[in-house]
Symmetry: C2
Subunit: 406 residues, 2 copies
């Protein structure tokens, strides 16, 4: 047997077993009601439409759908993406779109194209774990900026940037999940969006708008997208069909100025040559036949019911104590729960598994390891019954824990 330790790259040798992955394994135990995952509801998949669309694609485009395609994406899909962007007030052309193997590849491309070891990247506290993993794997130095109910605190963001400038550090980009954020469920307010872009122009930094859930809105007026406000100057937007159509096709896209798109396309070529032509054409046809808008409406209604159920279950089962609060997301798949400061969601986790309920510990989403008293709860995947029963188990556990703390 070859000495692998000698052969692995430095970053590979450094990888340790992820605590989160080990925790997530526990959530699959039989009988455990899990709010830990981030999966869409499979009962909401538009199976009949997919059958129809897929047959059409294979029959009408048998050659192009089964062949290699261009690295930057199939023209049919780019056309639909440009149309979708126009609805969001974004004035873009085909050259501003790179189709990706879902938005995780968009994140990997960001790392590849922008990050040298020790480059500073600014993220939210908390932030999407898949983003943190990529930036970490590219050895970025991550700086976290706290959020409140209106999203990232732009005053603290400016302070950080001034401090970084003083320390003569460069910074690569600000990474934001502005709509129904994973993990917090919080949406960046219109005013803060304006402020973020002002800062980006003033201090010359790129803004990454990772927005997989934007269209899954239950109520209220959507703020403008950062991309539409910016007009291809500072903003790189990542989107995906995973939450508004199905994740199993692995199709997402990046919107950015042409120079960035061409650099990312070159990097993508080495990664997988192209995203599945078949999957791209399925997505394109799904849009073309008008099914996407219908599916978005259907999923939004369905997840709203689940969110409402989780909100009332939290009201019903959680103890009324100071410091215990949760967010009320206007869309998306997640909400965020804060325990009183003296309780640790990390320490509570094994007990929750014993009580057969699971969540993701909030500290996993904090690049600085803070957030020990927080947790992320997913409401899209569990059934109505599971939501009620699971929150009941969690509420009882928190109550028990509060008594023990005294």
């Amino acid at each position: 047997m070859i000495d692998l330790v000698k052969n692995y790259a430095i970053t590979t040798r450094r990888i340790k077993k992820s605590v989160i992955r080990e925790l997530l394994k526990l959530t699959n135990k039989p009988g455990v009601i899990s709010f830990a995952g981030g999966l869409p509801d499979p009962d909401a998949f538009p199976v009949e439409w997919i059958e129809e669309v897929t047959m059409k694609v294979i029959k009408e485009n048998s050659k192009s759908s089964l062949q290699y395609g261009p690295t930057d994406g199939m023209p049919e899909l780019k056309r639909e993406i440009v149309k979708h962007s126009k609805k969001l007030g974004e004035n873009i052309r085909d050259e501003n779109v790179l189709v990706t193997t879902a938005s995780q590849q968009g994140l990997e491309l960001l790392g590849k194209v922008f990050i040298d070891p020790s480059d500073p990247v600014i993220v939210e506290l908390p932030s999407y774990i898949g983003g943190l993993q990529v930036f970490g794997a590219y050895s970025a130095k991550m700086h976290g900026v706290p959020m409140d109910d209106n999203g990232i605190r732009t005053d603290l963001l400016e302070e950080l940037i001034i401090k970084l400038k003083k320390d003569e550090e460069r910074y690569k980009f600000l990474y934001l999940v502005p709509d129904f954020q994973n993990p917090s469920g919080v949406t960046l307010s219109q005013e803060r969006r304006k402020k973020v872009l002002e800062l980006s122009y003033k201090y010359d930094f790129l803004v990454v708008e990772d927005s997989p859930y934007k269209d899954v809105r239950f109520e209220g007026t959507p703020p403008a997208t950062l991309q539409s406000m910016d007009g291809l100057k500072s903003v790189i937007t990542l989107r995906t069909f995973s939450k508004i159509f199905v994740p199993g096709i692995r199709v997402g896209w990046v919107v950015a100025n042409e120079d960035i798109i061409s650099k990312m396309a070159l990097a993508k070529q080495a990664m997988d040559l192209c995203t599945s032509s078949l999957c791209q054409l399925i997505a394109a046809k799904f849009c073309e036949l008008g099914y996407l808008d219908k599916q978005i409406a259907f999923v939004s209604k369905r997840y709203k019911e689940k969110r409402d159920l989780m909100m009332s279950a939290l009201e019903k089962y959680m103890p009324k104590v100071e410091g215990l609060r949760w967010t009320r997301p206007d869309g998306g798949l997640f909400l965020w729960l804060e325990l009183p400061k003296n309780l640790s969601a990390d320490e509570l986790f094994p007990k929750a598994i014993e009580e057969k309920v699971a969540y993701v510990i909030g500290s996993a989403f904090h690049c600085d390891g803070s957030g020990a008293n927080t947790m992320r709860l997913n409401f899209s995947f569990p059934t109505h019954e599971q939501i009620d029963e699971g929150i009941k188990r969690l509420g009882n556990l928190v109550k028990k824990q509060l008594v023990n703390q005294k």
Copy 2:
């Protein structure tokens, strides 16, 4: 507009427009008969079987085929891959398989998991361009070893390794395309395979067996796979459905020992979370119903006809001069043509485009920039008529060039 040059990573700033990409654009000019691509023949796609299989998958597995899947691959597909490996004499288990977004992702994972900047990697002269691109992007230092009609020259390989040891350099792996190599069409002989593995054990290095065409054999006895001879010690094997089924589903796989597979799976997680579940299950069902073996037989017969046609066209149209020779591949998609030493395929290229015929310049496959008098010709994609007419044009051009040289 943000100052992008400041923001791009060092490797991105270093990327120049690829000469090859620019050349390939020319091959798309109207009327040009192109032997430059590497595409399978779309008329050989098993469209009806794919319709049947896809409908079965969506109907029978609507939830799992449209949902996220495990990063290392869907169990249904892994089972079929293990069966396929057993037919090749490889005794492997599910844990030795990582499903990838086709084999280009396998190459990217190799780079990610093994290569630190300036790490030496040993490649064949010539070698697959997609591999060279990945290793180059990871800033590997590439060392080329010449080939003859039996594949890589193992005597020169050993010399190189001894030299590298003396220079106190480490080396990461030897990268081989042992079956009907892209670009040369040459197959590594059984004897040389044994020798490669002996060297690998003696000098402690990994061997990458990139084998996308192995099953597309026209005649002769297949040598044993390096993986079957090695038994999961030194060999990492990359395979794909692109050439034996269809490329449009982007499904391939890596076979290696469990430790390497788990490291690659972690890296893949950041790259795209998982390969399309839908595409994986289509591939699995295609195998399960016994269609893969039939399709392999069909494609092999079809490409053999095309190879035969290209061989006779070369006989017919190429001048009989010293130094002009071509390989006769027993399978695969490509053959290799060497011009007399005083002719340059690089310089001939623009003239070929004028004469409306295209190839890939051989120097592009040489990590040391050599091979100016060589070219790669693809016979899988062009029609019978195109093969005859295209080789006629190329033959006339070479004749003209020989006269001019005098």
